[in-house]
Amino acid sequence: MQISGAQMVIEALTLEGVDTVFGYPGGAIMNVYDEIYKQDKFQHILNRHEQAAVHAAEGYAKASGKVGVAMITSGPGFTNAVTGLADAYMDSIPLVVISGQVPMSLIGTDAFQEIDAVGISRSCTKHNYLVTDAKDLPRILKEAFYIASSGRPGPVHVDIPKDVTAQIAEFDYSQPVKLETYKPHTKGNPRQIKKAIEAMADSKRPLFYLGGGIINANAAYEVRELVHKTGIPAVETFMARGVLAHDDEHLIGMLGMHGSYAANMAMSETDLVIALGARFDDRVTGKLSEFAKNAAVIHVDIDPASISKLVNADFPIVGDVKNVVNEMLEISSKIDVSKFESWRETINNFDDLHPLTYHEDSEKLKPQWVIERVGELLGDDANISTDVGQHQMWTAQFYPFSRPRQFISSGGLGTMGFGFPAALGVKAAAPQQTSVNFTGDGSILMNCQELMTAVEKKLPVINIILNNNYLGMVRQWQTLFYDKRHSETDLSVQPDFVKLSEAFGGIGYRVSTKEEFDAALKDAVEKDVVAFIEVIVHRLENVMPMVPSGGSLFNMMLLEKKEK
């Protein structure tokens, strides 16, 4: 059929099964928005900033497992969205982001709201397109969805000049995607898999190192089975929280800079690292030359470029982690489960020595208590997002995650302002579940305009602001490594968060005791409207334990033991 480029966008999104689009209109994308006005195939959520629109699409994608879609205009619309693209690229989140562009005839003339969008997005997307003819649009959109969701997922950016959205051309979406140069390798080499299983059977102190790729591959339940069948203990990365349930006896905890002592010691003592969908990020490994120094490495990843990038893999397996784990399960009976009992005991002793905990304070609430309390009250029912900083690490440490896709946070890029819009996307994808965003007094101000989106679209996200009147994580580093020179991190001057929420039509609470917090949370869950719960917490609480930047995992700063 002969339709306009703008109509093609609607048709393609519909055929891709998109039910929610996040975005913000503007001059160059108006033809597409005109078609959005006329259709009823999908809902459009108007965020109040393009960055928030992309983060919301990320939250939607992470919670639903589908491709998230955001739509923006040219120039500043696009540049605002770049942070979201970069965030999705770092965390391998499947997105299709469609931007308007000035008409073809004006490209390169410094036209109003013109920017070389594909030039900018090239280094922070998996792939990008500048559409120069409407007849290419069906193919490009189909490729965009395919590329975003296959292999190692990631954001794909499609830049469409305004005249192309007006151009009439043939729309045929039935052609299969033909990309001779892009064929992700999904099936692991069976010989390598067999060798890996043999290595596991021969090892004395093996350790699963579980990464976010497991969640992307929808392989968490297969991995749980493999862990239980082999009896091998496991550590999770920040991105992998929820792969194993918090109460799984094989789960030691999170490793890395703010990982538990036991997890980091296990990684330092292991003789075989079994990395599944993890990428040996610097926040995980600490000093590379000391990382798992005496261990052989099995590395399963869909992205060949991740293997042996930082740590040499003795058993490299390129493939979809779900396929590989399923193949491992078939031959895993070779492994003697009872063999690793003394190793597990060693790890338990590490945990007894320095368990992950915190000290209560009689005067002020501790932020960790708040997170644990939400876990007790909402637990499995809530989807949890966070912003970036101390509250983010405490959430990863103390929230009792029980399922994959329950925890949504900006891991790789560490984007302050991610949490609230992402939580809106999560709520749009999973409206039956409570959506909670843990945030800080610094982060929340970076996308607080989303209160308006939440009120308008009835997305009752509960934002729990752990307020210590500091840009806490930077303050912590200044305290520890800059001789307490708290340069520009004192956030004593603040808005009234309760009034701020109310000004947009949300509700607000300010609490400073356990009883007040319980009451506020209960009330917020019952009321069907976006909420700010500002919790006044201890100002100088640090995230502990901690591996100082560049230090070795086994050299942790530990929580000071409390004098009795």
Binding site: V118, R122, L130, T132, T181
Partner: protein, 158 residues
Amino acid sequence: MTENSERRVISVIVVNEASVLSRITDLFSGRGYNITSLTVAPIPDSKYSRLTIATSGSVRVIEQITKQLHKLIPVLRVYEHADLVEKEMAMVKFPITENLSDINTLCEAYNGKIVNVGENVIIAMVADEPKRVENFLKVIKRYNPKEIVRSGAVALER
């Protein structure tokens, strides 16, 4: 942990489409890797082009470059050459007042000749291994070259 930084030649087969070259060069510049020389030309009777990139780096760096190149969507194949035949071309402009027979003899020693004669200048070309081309350019300095242009290397695996 001192890893030797050596000269390497990488060939990349890519879909011949807009922006593909910047995708590849961005990958180098974004990681702080330097490209020593770069040649691009379409492969006859196909929709692909071949790039020959001369660069330098340790084994690990080159392995990363190769993998990252391969990760780009329009890249079909990446070869990191170990055993290769490599050629490069250079053209040099000399004043006509220089000793033409000397220049001609030198060019012949480097697979070249005088290819153009004008009123005031002659143009000579040579085609040889990059190292030899470099040598040639050193030798001809005494003939006061007015302009020198090098093509960058092309390579084929033996």
